[in-house]
Symmetry: C2
Subunit: 296 residues, 2 copies
């Protein structure tokens, strides 16, 4: 049972409730809250030797443990609000090490005005940090991965292929996401945590649609080792989103005036029977396989 | 830095927000929600070889991972609603093993009408399950550990000292907690996860008060190995709560009619300068040390 199968198993096994607007399957769950807002609820675990090296700076380990969760909230169009933190901490590490983790957690929480409202600590063999996050989104601004439309244009924020460098130190795209949902109607969105190919596959699968993306349009970072890194390495934590042509024009007019946020058009949504296609050099059409980082 | 120091460090390092009614320091955080209700938000991590043996039945491991979180919500007087589950799963374990964990999670969620709204899975050396929970409580029914009053009577639900047997299989006291908060004004409450002595110490410390409890009044389970187990072993997950004498009379009249819930009077709250005292055989007064299960 791989990760996709496991999540599918969890989601098909479990019954929902009326207060659950969206359960398992998107970057965050959507729960009823106030008349105008939804709650967003998500969780992500980082494990030493799996997600980061033993030698990694504990400040950035703490930072990333929160950042990946913030990114999940951003991908739904929302704003992060509160976190709880569970830490499994090896006895052999020093109190100073633990304090540096907390410093990293605290620094990113201050930056994004997030409250740390709970903590649980345990002894464990390897360092583990699990963060759960609560966010909020105005009902009209909620964006799911499952609601792309045929003929939507596909965009990404920033540039891709920096995962190897960013790794622990990335800044989640909350500000960008909030501008996008405020300035235009975003049809679907996901964060690129496991590589463009894999996360595009997830978005298309959830929407029961296909896509064509163009190699020549991919904003490959100047720092990327290779185009392959921009397509499959992951850890970019940029946003992948789709807009109708009309809304795309609206957004581009806005960006023309403000110069923000940085986005690139990379392709288009097509009917499901069109599959997922990568248009490579000289128009060669390749089938996209959902390759990228799978957690087991 | 031990667990108490760590939690203190987290809570003193972190600024709160207006929407946070209670942050770190109680069984769950309290967050603004609807006009009549608060949200409760908590998290607990279980680690193989720390909280359960490698040979433990994965069904009950899944069950307990959720049960400890439900218990945190019960201790605030609330009702559990939604969870997200992060699992670190060793590659060498079988898919059947993972399915049995999910079966345990699903069974307790069905029993308590909880929705599983998110999941994250990762490879890891030892099995880790971290559950975060959202609950709700009517504003008037919220109970904190920090609001005991002088002269309150101290009660526990059920009987103590069964931790060795219950361990993974306990049923969190949601039903009992809900009856308590509906039928009388509960001044303070905490769940007994780490032993009566330690959790009573936490309640008294949070309330800046002292307590006297009486050995002869402790409802020691017939199955307990020793009185010491009832005082210090932990894993009972019963509720420890305090009531004014007036409210205690009201509750006892209710229980007289219904026979439910099972509770025992074990002592009284005194001024802080009175300290924490255990009245043992023949009236010998002993000082209670905060001994019990500390996680590191």
């Amino acid at each position: 049972m791989n990760e996709l199968e496991f999540i599918k198993y969890m989601s098909t096994t479990i019954k929902g409730k009326k207060s659950v607007v969206e359960g398992i399957g998107d970057d965050a769950a959507v729960i009823k809250h106030t008349p105008h807002k939804y709650l967003l609820f998500a969780s992500d675990m980082l494990i030493e030797k799996v997600h980061f090296l033993k030698s990694a700076d504990p400040f950035w380990v703490g930072w990333k443990a929160v950042a990946v969760n913030i990114s999940d909230i951003a991908a739904m169009g929302g704003a992060p609000k509160h976190i709880v933190v569970s830490i499994g901490f090896p006895n052999k590490k020093s109190p100073a090490y633990l304090k540096r983790i907390v410093k990293g957690i605290k620094t990113i929480c201050d930056k994004f005005e997030i409250s740390i409202v709970g903590g649980d600590t345990n002894a464990s063999q390897n360092l583990i940090i699990d963060v759960s996050i609560l966010g909020e989104v105005e009902k009209r601004n909620l964006v799911k991965r499952s609601t792309a439309k045929i003929n939507d244009l596909i965009f990404v924020t920033g540039s891709l292929g920096e995962g190897r460098f960013k790794h622990l130190k990335f800044t989640p795209r909350v500000k960008e996401a909030r501008v996008l949902v405020e300035k235009c109607k975003v049809n679907s969105m996901i964060d690129i945590s496991d590589g463009l190919f894999l996360d595009l596959t997830r978005l298309c699968k959830a929407s029961s649609l296909g896509a064509r993306i163009y190699k020549s349009l991919i904003p490959v970072s100047l720092r990327a080792h290779s185009v392959k890194d921009a397509l499959e390495y992951g850890e970019d934590f940029e946003l992948l989103f789709t807009l109708s042509i009309k809304e795309a024009k609206r957004l581009i007019r806005y960006i023309g005036k403000t110069g923000y946020p940085p986005i690139s058009l990379i392709g288009e949504i097509v009917p499901e029977r069109g599959g997922l296609k990568f248009i490579a050099d000289e128009g060669k059409v390749e089938r996209i396989k959902p390759s990228g980082y799978l957690h087991f």
